[in-house]
């Protein structure tokens, strides 16, 4: 493969460039830092004990899931407005990653709840709404899988993507509005940023949030690259068909 050809692929987005490598190494360093903070730096919480450390994975997973679904919302709005394939690609990629992290939230939540609450699951507003969010985006991905490729599919998915994201503020405020067994927000509180959490715990949580956000961008670059390669293959196949 010539250098000129590789450069051309970098420009069309079908081959990750140097930016992808930088992102990979940044994510790796971020994760080493996060793991050191979680298992070495931060002291064990007094009431819950060692199991409280699940928070440093559970909360960042929830953050990435919400962020990913917000990106779906944003890209879906842009797709409906401008009808450009690019926005549909980003929305699809972000929905898939959001589903992964939302699933991890729904797995790690019960693992944390069992030793603390004594039950794996309770039909608490926040938990139920998070499950609803997962179901909406599962429907989104199934719609993509079952509907024939084209602008109609992208349009339907964009609508589901927008409607689904409306559940996110409900999840966030459910603890404050309806009361909940689930702990209230500790970082963004009415008393100020980070006032509900100890400094060392806050720092560790922020490092973990940063590392998981980097993972989101790394996964996005890989996932978007796959969609772009599929498009390029389709384009070349059509080009061959018309030239023969």
């Amino acid at each position: 493969m010539s250098a000129e050809h590789e450069l051309e692929e970098e420009e069309t987005g079908t081959r990750p460039g140097e930016g992808g490598q930088v992102l990979f190494w940044l994510t790796a360093v971020g994760f080493v830092g996060a793991l050191a903070a979680i298992f070495v730096f931060v002291p064990t919480e007094v009431t819950e004990g060692i199991v409280q450390r699940i928070m440093y994975f559970h909360v960042p997973c929830a953050w990435v899931a919400f962020f990913a679904f917000f990106i779906v919302f944003f890209c879906s709005v842009l797709f409906l407005w401008r009808r450009e394939r690019e926005w549909d690609i980003y929305a699809h990629a972000s929905a898939e990653i959001g589903m992964l992290f939302c699933s991890l939230v729904l797995i790690t939540g019960p693992i944390w709840a069992k030793p603390i609450w004594g039950v794996w699951w309770t039909w608490d507003p926040r938990l139920t709404l998070t499950l609803v969010l997962w179901l909406i985006y599962a429907a989104y991905l199934m719609l993509r899988l079952q509907t024939a490729e084209g602008s109609a599919r992208a349009k339907y998915c964009a609508v589901v993507g927008i409607v689904g994201a409306l559940d996110i503020p409900l999840i966030h405020f459910s603890v404050l509005w309806w009361g909940s067994q689930h702990p209230a927000p500790k970082i963004i509180t009415s008393e100020g940023l980070g006032s509900g959490i100890d400094t060392s715990m806050g720092i560790t949580l922020l490092v973990a949030l940063g590392a998981f956000t980097l993972v989101y961008f790394l996964l996005m670059s890989l996932r978007v690259n796959i969609e772009k390669m599929k498009d390029e293959i389709d384009r070349l196949k059509k080009q061959r068909l018309y030239s023969n």
Binding site: I50, L100, T108, I111, L236, S243
Partner: protein
């Protein structure tokens, strides 16, 4: 070290989930890269005829 098993299970789920997803992405990426290289090669040969 009470409840260490729960912390281990949560970690296993997180790392297992992320690593599995990266693995499937890389597998899809490799297969598509192969197809793309092949079709690019074919188009180049055909246009050079």
């Amino acid at each position: 070290m009470k409840n260490l098993g729960f912390l281990f299970a949560a970690n296993l789920a997180i790392w297992g989930g992320i690593v599995f997803y990266i693995f499937t992405l890389m597998k899809r990426n490799r297969a598509l890269r192969r197809d793309l290289d092949l079709i690019q090669e074919t188009v180049k040969k055909e246009s050079g005829k």
